[in-house]
Every structure is written in C-alpha cells, then in structure tokens.
C-alpha cells in the first residue's frame, strides 16, 4: 500500500514539473535593424537682397509691391519710381536665394509676415508686409519647394513697402530673417 501511494505521488509530481528535453527547445534568433537617415544639411545662400529701389512719394502715402518671380516693382498711391533709366539708379527686385541640400527632398521657407525698417532720422519706421515666398521648383506651392536631382533650387522673397507722405528722404535698410527647413 505504501508502494502504491509513492507511485501515485510520483506521477503527480512529474505532471507538475514536466520531463526535461532541452534538445527540443532550440534557441530562436531574429535580426532586426536599427535605422537612421541622415540628410545633407540645408544651406541657403543669399544672391540678391530684397530691394524696393528708388522711390518717390508726392504728397500722400503710397506703396511699392515687389512680387517674387515677377521681374518689376508695382507702385500704388502716391508712390512712384524715383528714377528712370539713369545709370547707377538702384533697380527694384525681390530677394533671391539659392538652396542646397538633399536631392529630391522638400523644404519650406519661413519669413515674417511683416517687419519694420528703422528710420535713420528717428521718423516712423517703414512698414514692410505681405512678405511672400515663391520657389522655382514649386511656384504655386507658396513657401514650399523641392530640391532637384542634384540637390539645388532657388526661391525669391517679395513684399509690400508702405510709405507715408512725410517719409524723410534716406536710404532705408533692414534685415529680413529667412529660415529654410526640410519638411
């Protein structure tokens, strides 16, 4: 009887621990990957500044509009060109930039919506607003462009200059921050 009890206990114990068979439990391997894509940093080189040219204001306020990829300035209100075809007279043109980076990758240009250009004589600063960007690769996509197969593109920045009737005669100059990033 004691032998029977031992036998039953042994069977129960074996069922709880299961016979060892290391050979049937082969190790399993899997090789995953770690991936990182490093893109060539973007660089933007200024080719031309945004220049509103020589402007004359006659007794009232006016505006000068420089559109990117347009070629010439538009004058509104009392503003008009300050010179004709004289040699040395500064011509109006948008800012022009060359972009270099990862071939085929898209980028976006960020500019301020408006800015103030300080007056050299303490007068009211000039307002430049409606600052717009147009890229050569995607002219209809606003501030977004795409680098070509060699990693190059160009974009232009225009804006609208507001002039008052009492604007002092001077050469005004300001900085337009331009940030170019991949998207």
């Amino acid at each position: 009887m004691a032998g029977l009890r031992l036998c039953a206990f042994a069977i129960a114990g074996l069922a709880a621990s299961v016979p060892a068979d290391a050979a049937s439990a082969e190790p399993a391997s899997a090789t995953g990957v770690a991936r990182a894509t490093v893109v060539t940093p973007l660089s933007a080189e200024a080719i031309d500044d945004l220049d509103f040219g020589m402007v004359a204001v006659s007794g009232a306020s006016g505006r000068v509009v420089i559109a990117p990829m347009a070629g010439s300035a538009g004058f509104e209100g009392a503003a008009g060109p300050g010179c004709g075809n004289e040699t040395g007279c500064p011509g109006a043109h948008p800012a022009r930039f060359a972009v270099t980076g990862e071939a085929g990758r898209g980028y976006t240009v960020t500019v301020p919506a408006s800015l103030r250009i300080p007056s050299p004589e303490g007068a009211v600063p000039l307002l430049v607003d409606q600052i717009v960007v147009k890229t050569m690769s995607r002219p209809a996509a606003g501030s977004q462009g795409a680098l070509d197969s060699s990693g190059h593109d160009r974009f232009e920045v225009g804006g609208t200059l507001h002039l008052t009737a009492t604007q002092p005669s001077a050469r005004y100059r300001g900085d337009v921050p331009v940030i170019v990033t991949y998207f």
Binding site: A2, G3, L6, F9, A10, G13, L14, S17, V18, P19, A20, D21, A22, S24, A25, E26, P27, A28, S29, A30, T31, G32, V33, A34, R35, A36, T37, V38, V39, T40, P41, L42, E102, R105, T108, T181, Y182, F183
Partner: protein, 183 residues
Amino acid sequence: MAGSNRFLSATARRRRRNAAVAVLFSLGAVPLAADTPLVMVTTRALNFGTFAVMGTAVRQVGADGTVTGSGLMAVRGSVESPAEYVVTYSAKLPVVVLGLTFGSVAPITINGVTGKLDNFVTDLQGLPAIKPGESRTFVIPNCRQPTCSFTFRVGGRLTLNGGAGGGTFVFPLPLSVRLIAEQ
C-alpha cells in the same frame, strides 16, 4: 527494481520514498520540452528617424518610444520607434524563464559620418538594459497556454560624429532567445 523492494526493510523503503519526494520538489524549475519550437520574429525596426546633423549628434529612442537627443535637426514627418520583437512558445507552466543574448553591433561610417549604437534598453520585466555581447535572463510571468506569445521592445542610443554628409545608416540588431525553464 520494484521486485527488489521486497527485500528492503520498512525503514529503508521510507528513506527511499523521502529521497524521491525531495528530488521531485527540487525539480520546480527545469528545462522543458516544447510542443512548438521557440520562435522569435522582428516586427518593427529601431528607427531613429530622419534628420540633419552638424558635427556631433546624439539621439536616444527609449523602449517606450520616448525620443531625446541633441545636435540634430529632425525633418518634419520623421518617424521614430523602438525595435519590436515577438516571441512565441508553447508553455506547459505559466512562468517561463528565457535567456536573451544580444549580438555585437559594429559602428558604421557613411560619407564621413560615423554612427555608433549603444545604451540599449528594453521593456522586458527585470531587464531594463542590455549590452551587445551580453546574455541575460528574464521571466515571462503569465505565459498562457496553449501558445504563449509576447512582445518586447528594444531602444538604443545613436551617436553620430563627423562631417555633414548624408546617408542611411542600417545596423543589424541580432537577438536570440533560449528557453531556460518553466516554473
């Protein structure tokens, strides 16, 4: 063997029975047979994303997907994720002890930029970190029958040194698991 018991005294039989019971209790954790093989597959790569680097950059992706870093500028739409592995095994007991071995990961240099991986982390219970070449054990406490399948994630740190060149870095992440015991 059973026949020889007839010649043992009652005391000797009791001693033998106690020894058998002691052996059975000591077998609480033993290597076990598997009805289906131990299988591990990778279901997601450890992805550090897409970014531009200037000089030296560090990016850590945690096992929970947390991303930290410095010295880089991520491209919009960059996707980061920890690697994901799925292990499948038919367990007979609810607690499974497995050994995890992590193979070595060599640095890679592309276009003058050298990438190195280290600081590997996991979300395995009791195994928050593991080094290349290291073997560690971990426990799966609720391995449900008939097939136990569980997922774990591996994160790591990528360090990039060198120039500003671009490229795609792909590091193999060799992992293997082996069954140690069921409890």
